[in-house]
Symmetry: C2
Subunit: 194 residues, 2 copies
């Protein structure tokens, strides 16, 4: 498992997911790493099974796969709102608890506060105590981090890369991903001549 | 640590967070458990430190706290979009990798597909292959689960409780939480006479 790297991110939901997976694996190979893209190894469940059973079977397979990987590179580009995809966040936490290095990138370079403010528009409010909150009364974290502080705290030694991309490219551009791969290869001692 | 339970959820962002934490801890105590609410033990960082340093310090404290807990009860009520709070999702993954039991609840009883469809409104589209996608071209998971399949798969033995609440109550109502506490107490063998 020493060179297997789990590739988490919401691009698995794109119609072109398999093509992006192939591109990501090819980049990893150039750096001496084995990229493991969700779906590559998921042992697609029997389509005759009830949908809920299929969903849980994929979850089990992905957790086994994560345990077999030495590190994770996670795409934190915002997904259906101002934060990262919850599945990717879950996978970060999983790998963090196992002590595996975490490399992260986002194709949206804005800090979290700015993205939440844009999401809220003119519904953002200020409390009498000074903090800002969304229309549900939820404080907007002021820490000048890229997302929720638990996600920011999980990324190994600041191995977080951002690349400001236009909406059309935000789930397919791989420049920031490749920078993460280079850092992961250095950290894992990958043999690029291999 | 055998009766300490980590209480994850986005209600930490409410102005009344400490009051909700106190209510949650009181419910846990009635069932013989020690509820650990984020913030109770976070050793608030020095406010003179840079904000990013404060944020990371809280993350470190919360991870230490999770390692000291025997289980997690997580609030998956949707937060700033159709999915759960990413910080709570991260914490679920963390506890899952450690093998700790996970109990979850949501004060929004709708399945994930229905919430995403409501979030997308008339921007939801159908692919030629039949799947539905959001306006970013991201497939909407069809598994009839409550959220992303990784989150659904993590919940121990179907210990997932929903309670359909009005928007004004969705982050403060604790009926579903209390049902989770009861299940956690049974699983952890808590001594309610204590």
């Amino acid at each position: 498992m020493d060179k297997r790297v789990y590739l988490a991110g919401p691009e698995v939901f794109l119609a072109m997911s398999r093509e992006i997976g192939a591109r990501k694996r090819a980049i990893c190979a150039r750096y001496g790493l084995v990229g493991v893209y969700p779906g590559d190894e998921e042992h697609a469940p029997d389509p005759a099974l009830p949908l809920t059973v299929q969903g849980i079977a994929i979850s089990r397979a992905m957790e086994r796969t994560m345990r077999s990987c030495a590190a994770i590179i996670v795409n934190l580009t915002p997904f259906r709102g101002p934060s990262a995809d919850v599945g990717s966040a879950y996978e970060m936490g999983f790998m963090r608890a196992l002590g595996r290095p975490i490399f992260a990138y986002s194709n949206d370079a804005r800090p979290y506060f700015e993205r939440v403010a844009a999401f809220c528009g003119d519904t953002m409010r200020q409390r009498p105590t000074g903090e800002y909150e969304d229309p549900d009364g939820m404080a907007i974290e002021p820490f000048a981090l890229h997302d929720n502080l638990m996600l920011a705290g999980a990324v190994t030694d600041g191995h977080f890369v951002t690349d400001a991309r236009a909406p059309a490219e935000r789930y397919s551009a791989l420049r920031a991903f490749e920078l993460c791969v280079g850092r992961a290869a250095a950290e894992l001692g990958a043999d690029v001549s291999g």
